[in-house]
């Protein structure tokens, strides 16, 4: 138990020292846009399909359940309002972040971890390239840029999923559904949802890069680093979500 507490604080300390190093390397020349674009594609474009599928079905389920509940009190026209508010303020940002944690968090920790145990990180240093600049900085920046973008897609597709169920399946009139969807949406809510995701993105990369860079113990170590990067990221997304929501909304 004592050891675990020690380990816990050691990790927190390690990560908080790691963060300024990443930020420093982002602003330190030379700048290589090539590495950033690679990561933008990895984190953004390649994650879009799964985020879209998630958003579509979450939107559909939300609409279905909301409709059944609202119907009891004869307020089924508000189905659209509930779907859009939930997607934009909470589910879009959080579920997108969880998917990115699973996909990018895992691959980042695994890639950097295996580079660590096969001395590729040392090799970068001997070639006079800072490993944090080369590996962590572009990912960090790309995640902060791409999470809001993915979330916008998730929001829109989720609302569309709700529309499919509300309008096509349950026959709510198109115009009413659209009006009610938009009525309760404030620009502030959308923006706050997107700001949340920037923090999620930064945190996912911080955790997974840190886990990668501190990997030891061969293939087994890489496996452990990968698992814990994903677990820690997801837990932190949920915890941070609560506090960010309090601060932002």
């Amino acid at each position: 138990m004592k050891k675990r507490i020690y380990y816990f604080f050691q990790e927190i300390g390690g990560m908080s020292l790691f963060l300024p190093q990443i930020i420093l390397q982002i602003f330190k020349p030379p700048f290589k846009p090539k590495y950033l674009t690679n990561q933008l594609v990895q984190i953004g474009v390649n994650t879009l399909p799964i985020v879209s599928i998630m958003a579509l079905f979450v939107g559909m389920v939300l609409a279905y359940l909301a409709y059944l509940q609202f119907k009891i009190v004869a307020l089924e026209v508000y189905t659209g309002s509930l779907v859009s508010a939930c997607m934009v303020m909470e589910l879009g940002p959080v579920l997108t972040a969880i998917i990115v944690a699973g996909r990018i968090g895992a691959s980042t920790a695994a890639e950097i971890g295996s580079m660590k145990v096969t001395e590729q990180i040392d090799a970068l240093s001997t070639l006079a390239v800072n490993p944090i600049k080369y590996l962590a900085a572009p990912r960090f920046l790309a995640a902060i840029i791409m999470l809001p973008v993915l979330t916008i897609f998730a929001d829109v597709i989720g609302i569309f999923g709700g529309y499919i169920v509300g309008v096509w399946q349950f026959g709510i009139r198109h115009r009413i559904y659209m009006n009610k969807s938009v009525d309760f949406l404030a620009a502030d809510d959308i923006i706050c949802g997107l700001i949340k995701t920037m923090f999620f993105g930064a945190m996912i990369i911080l955790v997974s890069c840190y886990k990668g860079f501190t990997t030891s113990g061969g293939a087994e170590g890489v496996g452990k680093a990968t698992t814990s990067a994903v677990v820690v990221s997801i837990v932190l997304i949920l915890v941070m979500d609560y506090f960010l929501t309090i601060v932002l909304f």
Binding site: M115, T118, Q120, D122, A123, S125, T126
Partner: protein
């Protein structure tokens, strides 16, 4: 060129280097021999600054790199080439990108020029035409040679070889030994070669040093080492086990 004074290094409680003293002269090939696990790779990593000593000085061209910060170290590292024991090729990059990595990062050479240099270096290590392969598609010995090509790609002043001939067939090993000598003769490079392979050691060395129990216990020309009276060195170079 490189002077190491009283170098100590522990990993946790476990001491690996216990006061290494050695000088490497400009233009020589120094071979370091020693039992597996005695700290040869650790010593090389100190010379290029990826490990920091607990105590001691590592002077490269008169300056103690143990006190250097990251950007000062990077300037020094640009003069070094290093072949890792496990080659340490970047597995997300092709052979061409691996060998051309330094040139791409630190010079303004265009793609064609880099490709030409890469092809040249690959030919030197006996692997022409593998530029487009990924590292996972190479055999162990091929990886080693690509690693060697990467180490010499930027024409360094000092090359550190960690077991250049291990895992390589005898004919290719001879070719690599010749390459080490050739580079030294043509460009008067300073080389430090870590090896278990005594044939290779005698062939390439100007001087041989033996690392044992965290210290350099003997240093001399191949002739002197062959005639050594030190029982540990004698045992190592003749390959006799104490158990029989």
């Amino acid at each position: 060129m490189i002077t190491i004074t009283d170098l100590f290094k522990n990993f946790g409680e476990y001491p690996v280097l216990k006061g290494v003293n050695i000088t490497i002269n400009k233009g020589e090939v120094l071979v370091i021999i020693g039992q597996s696990g005695c700290g040869k790779s650790v010593l090389l990593k100190h010379i290029i600054g990826i490990l920091k000593p607990d105590k001691g000085k590592i002077e490269v061209q008169g300056k103690d790199i143990a006190k250097f910060n990251e950007s000062q170290l990077n300037e020094v590292r640009k003069k070094f080439g290093m072949l890792f024991q496990g080659a340490a090729l970047f597995d997300s990059l092709t052979v061409r990108e691996n060998v051309g990595f330094f040139l791409d990062e630190h010079t303004k050479l265009d793609k064609q020029t880099i490709s030409k240099i890469v092809a040249e270096k690959l030919k030197l290590v006996g692997l022409p035409g593998v530029e487009n392969l990924m590292p996972f598609a190479l055999s162990g010995g091929m990886r080693k040679r690509v690693g060697l090509a990467r180490a010499i790609a930027m024409d360094p002043e000092i090359i550190l070889y960690d077991e250049p001939t291990t895992g390589i067939d005898p004919i290719m090993a001879t070719a690599i030994n010749e390459l080490i000598r050739e580079l030294q003769a043509k460009l008067s490079l300073t080389s430090i070669v870590v090896t278990h392979d005594m044939v290779s050691a005698y062939y390439v060395a100007d001087r041989i040093a033996m690392l044992d129990d965290g210290k350099i216990i003997e240093i001399g020309t191949p002739e002197e080492i062959r005639k050594t009276t030190n029982p540990i060195v004698k045992q190592f170079i003749t390959g006799k086990s104490t158990n029989n």
